[in-house]
Assembly symmetry: D2
Homo-oligomer: 357 residues x 4
């Protein structure tokens, strides 16, 4: 194998990487052994987990020193128990649609999204009281939502603004789950909060402002719960997918992408919803795509048309702010739907979804 | 009247204008007489036509010198045959939804748009040959389009690029109309071309780059055919409506607004389609709103999702590029649909439209 | 020649064009003769004037059919009186820096800009009265301005806003020129107005909103006066240069580019001044680059720092709004400098300019 | 006091806060006592440190419940040792220029910036080797830099890209400081890294992607070293100042703002440098403003003009990437200056700075 591999490596030109999925039942020790073998041929590599499989990814090196040829692949297949080998462009590896051509389905209790499953996450911007949270949970569940959102740790522009109920808020969310049965989606802003959300919640949300907070992404990669990763105000699609890649490379293959509007010169809405992101994400990564029309619009009366547009463009789900009494909300009341408005939105979106492939 | 009017004027503070619709049957001579009367009270005004009514609009002056009070209105009503008087904010007068709360319907032969009518304009970017144009006309008509588009005068970034067949192209479009029965929508780039398009076509298109070409807008205001006014790459909504106002103020009340994407930092599509513009335009002007998903996307495979999203958000119509053989198109082939793709798009959009109010 | 040329053509791959400068004294008849000769070899071409030379530009065709090889050049040189031949990339031909590596100097009376000459155009947004205009002309001249600006035809967002004094305004500008000696820079919005500005003024300004008004650019290309071409709110640099190319291709080689700020998400200034445009334009076209800090800033107190920054980055000149009494200005008063502020700005900019290469 | 205070509070309308600076020598116990006193009147407040003074800031409440009237101020002055009381708009409190009208000077060893001091931070993107780092330190010091930059923890878009030498890199930087005498500016991406940078470096850099990573900002607020806070790609000025406010509210009053370009539609530079941010920041917060022309430009040949423009617009300092051999740099080589280019830039910027107030 040695000889042919070296030949193979020497003719390489493109900056590709090889993703090697080990066979079912292989352990991390097997993967470590493979890495040692690759190292012997001057190929650096690292190990991660994707789904329930051990994966070895060859590291980026200078063109000319990386293995993507058939000889190397043949050598690996003959020496190890390998399920499949993918050679992909470096900008998007584990998130690459080639890794899971059928698209990922992410599941958390009542909530399934992607691969034909439509997920609707609804609830207040902020957990304010047990009553407000539980009432909303039941109302959105009855209208068709499949998960409850609500912030316990709130990223606020001002250090003097209300920062959330923190652990107390998580406990309220856990109660609302027991009551309603809905999975809980809630934000974490630090590795410590990731652990708390893992303990009390079902899906860890990473907010727009933390989309390139790499230490947080690494912590999310180590978590055993799915992650909903919002796009930043001006993150490019490629940067966003690479942030998802941080989570996948950390060993957590359950990532949901959530578009929430970008910053442009337009000022009649809070952000601009670039609806073309939905087909664009469909062709690149295999991850489910959810849209948050509430933050994009910044006003309740635009949430329904933006939600319907997102569904028509092929979104896998929605994330919507709903409050029993938007006028009295501690935060984002202007963009929150009432229970009645949410019901109407659900009816319309369900109808639109039935029309599209 | 004189005394009270002066009193009325003297207390004014807000920079408003008054729009006076004369009664049915009143002529321009009546309107001129009213203007003279207003002038006598120090109020400047000008005359235009809206639909089939003479309209007098009081001009902008310094705050404190403009008439919006009830005394002045009463004086006007007693002295002239007046149907109704509106006092509106200056930034949007004849385009203001208060002028036509039910929304405008713009009609041109087979083509109706607004007020519940859905208009679909389809055809090639550029008129290349009679055969290409007529074939496309029949195909899009059979798939449900209600108007044919096709450029005879082409605004091209480079002076060396193909500039269109000009008058020859208009003649081909006129033939395609005779053959298919479809109304013709085609672009004019100068007052002279406005006249030619009036002669051969049915709807005068003003392109994104000319959205603030005021001499052209004035010419369109004098035209006797409806105008489709595209948004500029970075025109704000208010600027766009004010450009429509130029046409309305010129006496042409049949204006269609067409969103075609704005320029942002996103680079995976040619432009960014800000779908929230649809509900935004719904609440401000009374003009129909059409979306051009072809230029927004810049690639054929994104046209269907963007079209469906636009319809779901409430658009009154679509403007889509279709070509018998996109690969051989002289211009914009990358974003043109084949006949088959257009048929599929129409089916999906019709279904989505049936779902929404 | 025929044989070798055909061989030459057949091996072409890149989409280039050839710019052929005829020798001094050659007439348009000579150029026409050359075009005929090229046509005989299947090469299309058109004729224009650059400076005082006849120029023949080979038209764009399909790759493989265009002449850029040495054989063709040799053939042309042997058959005609040719000064030099350039083969350039199509996206920027006559504006290409290779055409005039030393950079263009544009001159109009007192005003010279480019190639080491620093031009300062100052004056009111709008010509309001003879007194206001003449007073400003003398004040800016004494502070070091080399041209007077002032709008007679005003492009206004609202059709109801003051549209300028039109021909009356041009006459006032002509008087201010006689009084002050300063060259006059003033805007034209249509081919007709181009003629009027040619008659009364010295430099024809084309405003941001007309940067892609191709009929206007064509008219400016036929004019015998220099043209100052402002950038549009969101025109890319390439689009802007191509708009300049329209003017050059029309036979007018005296074009000045004027940056006036682009539209971004920033809202603390009217527009965003992208100062890097100055070195960017330095390396691509040969045209002088002037900056308008007044429109970019939208507020008088930011004009000085933006002007100084532009000079430090290498701008060839400035275009600044100055008014005897900004508070009473009919238009743009908020961003106009007083005479005193303009003097201070000139002192600082002169000092900064002395520091840079 | 009680009675008059309640009256005072009841008439409040504006959402202001009161910043109370205790007299020299007052301890945190004194501040806590004042907070208890305020609480007794229904006013919530929190304590921090600004410079060497204890500060009490009244928290945000509903309009009508907050104290800004003279009666309350008089009561506080009579009951406590107070140096001064400021009532400011909530969007910017401790960062507000009213707090330090003369502007802040931030000092760290050789490095002083703000209040007339010009600070130049230069060095490689990434610490690669001891030799590369030390050589650069000496070269930039000799050319006039007052601090050394160099990344040990690198925020990289891709999880597979080189992530920096980490603690090893910090040790190399500490060696370079011993050798050159220059203060060290280096980035931290997590609260743990803040502690490491405090240990080895002099100024803690927070990168563009972490500008709204509030847990990191809180950690920086607890640090005893100055903080350089970069602007995010699309952070508004207000959001950016509020992020600085997080650090100030945490008790660290030594914050430097660093503009590094924003994301717009322009694509000929990596980011767009909005030079007007310099005067804008001058009028709002009291913090020094430094510009990073290297990241804004993304190419070495534009760094000099952007640096000169920034200085001309009034920047307090520069942050520039310099590398002994840009072509072989592990990261950002395209935008790094050679030693020679940096020397030239320093000469020009020094000259320009001498021209401006």
């Amino acid at each position: 194998m040695a000889h042919t591999v070296r030949v193979g490596i020497s003719v390489l030109r493109r900056p590709d990487v090889m993703i090697i999925f080990l066979s079912e039942g292989m352990s991390s020790a097997h993967a470590d052994e493979m890495i040692k073998g690759l190292n012997d041929f001057g190929v650096t590599a690292h190990r991660t987990v994707f789904g329930d499989r051990q994966v070895v990814v060859t590291s980026i090196g200078k063109p000319g020193s990386r293995p993507d040829d058939e000889t190397l692949q043949a050598g690996i297949r003959s020496a190890y128990h390998v399920e499949r080998i993918l050679v992909v462009d470096t900008s998007c590896q584990l998130a690459n649609r080639q890794v899971r051509p059928e698209g990922s389905v992410v599941r958390a209790g009542t909530f399934s999204v992607g691969g034909g499953h439509f997920g609707v996450i609804a609830g207040p911007c902020t957990v304010e009281t047990e009553r407000q949270t539980c009432e909303t949970a039941l109302a959105v569940r009855d209208a068709g939502a499949t998960a409850l959102r609500g912030g316990a740790f709130k990223p606020r522009t001002s250090p003097y603004a209300f920062q959330g109920l923190k652990r107390e808020g998580l406990k309220i969310l856990a109660k609302a789950r027991r009551l309603s049965g809905l999975a809980i989606v809630t934000e974490a802003m630090s590795p410590e909060e990731v652990k708390l959300v893992e303990e009390y919640g079902d899906v860890i949300q990473i907010g727009a402002r933390n989309v390139q907070n790499y230490r947080l992404l690494e912590a999310a990669g180590r978590a055993r719960k799915p992650v909903l990763l919002k796009r930043g105000f001006s993150t490019t699609i490629e940067e966003w997918i690479m942030s998802a890649e941080y989570i996948l490379a950390g060993g957590n293959d359950r990532v949901i992408l959530c578009e929430r509007g970008i910053r442009t010169f337009e000022d009649y809405t809070r952000f601009t919803l670039p609806v073309a992101v939905i087909p664009a994400l469909r062709e690149m990564p295999h991850l489910p795509v959810v849209v948050d029309p509430s933050h994009a619009a910044g006003r309740a009366d635009f949430v329904l048309p933006l939600a319907a547009a997102s569904v028509a463009a092929g979104a896998d789900g929605l994330l919507v702010e709903v409050h029993p009494d938007p006028k009295s909300a501690l935060c984002d009341g202007r963009q929150s739907l009432t229970f009645e408005e949410f019901k109407r939105m659900m009816r319309q979106c369900t109808d639109v979804r039935a029309c599209i492939g």
